[in-house]
Amino acid sequence: MKKGDIILCSAICVFSALLALLFLTFKNNGKTLIVKVDNKPLYEYSLGTDREIELEHNTAVIKDGEVYMLEADCKNQICVRTGKISKRGECIVCLPNRVILEIK
């Protein structure tokens, strides 16, 4: 471990903390959910109404202004484990099924 290592690593840590702070202050609650399949926007739903969205391979849920992937038949289950999203710009991605849930 050299001095340069410590300087470099702590600089990156400080930078990422500042960036996180910046993002947190500018993050807003989103209003609509956009469902994209094969990178094409297919459906739009308001986050105001709770509902379940059945897609070919995935099931998404809107509840209390938050969106999550309830079920997916993909092998890695990354989309299901991503958890809830609600802020503008956040998304849940199911790469194997080419499904994207994006908040606008």
Binding site: L8, C9, I12, C13, S16, C91
Partner: protein, 174 residues
């Protein structure tokens, strides 16, 4: 004539070592895909397979580092991946190995710093690919990706150091 023979034997030996290291990478990568670090951010991995490339860079075997890393990425994409996951792996892998090769020349950094920076750049490259393929929303993951890149990178560097020590002890590597 004998010298040429010795030379080609060295080449074969070197190729065999690269192939061995590639298969080690694949197994480590597979184990990692089972044990996941999902509580940090979706898709975060420790990237222990990168320690092999890191060790090769430190041994000044630039060709080997590039060869092993590329074959690891291509083979694991064929075995477990998709074209999109290949894009992610390829961008992260090439950027981090290139960065490590360049940073190796910096006197002020040790293995840990070189590998830490490699990890960060790996994640920045993947974040950029994510923005292109998925959308600008991926940028929200950047802070956590930077942080996990440093932590994982330093861990990878530590492992690379151990690997080098073992290799040197056994004296088998040309």
């Amino acid at each position: 004539m004998p010298s040429e023979q010795g030379n080609s034997r060295d080449k074969v030996k070197r190729l065999a070592v690269w192939a061995l290291l590639t298969s080690v990478c694949l197994i480590v990568g597979y184990i990692e895909s089972i044990v996941n670090l999902f509580f940090i951010a979706p898709g975060v991995k420790l990237g222990l397979a990168n320690s092999v490339a890191c060790a090769l860079v430190l041994k000044d075997d630039v060709k080997g580092a590039v060869a092993v890393n590329l074959s690891r990425i291509l083979i694991s994409a064929l075995l477990f991946g998709s074209p999109v996951s290949l894009m992610f792996a390829l961008s992260g892998g090439t950027v981090s190995v290139t960065a490590m090769i360049l940073l190796k020349k910096c006197r002020h950094l040790s293995v840990l710093g070189i590998s830490g920076a490699g990890g960060v750049l790996h994640n920045i490259a993947q974040c950029a690919v994510g923005i292109v393929f998925i959308g600008i929303g991926i940028i929200y993951y950047l802070p956590i990706l930077l942080l996990s890149g440093v932590v994982c990178g330093v861990a990878v560097g530590f492992l690379a150091k151990l690997i080098l020590k073992r290799i040197e002890k056994s004296g088998k590597y040309v």
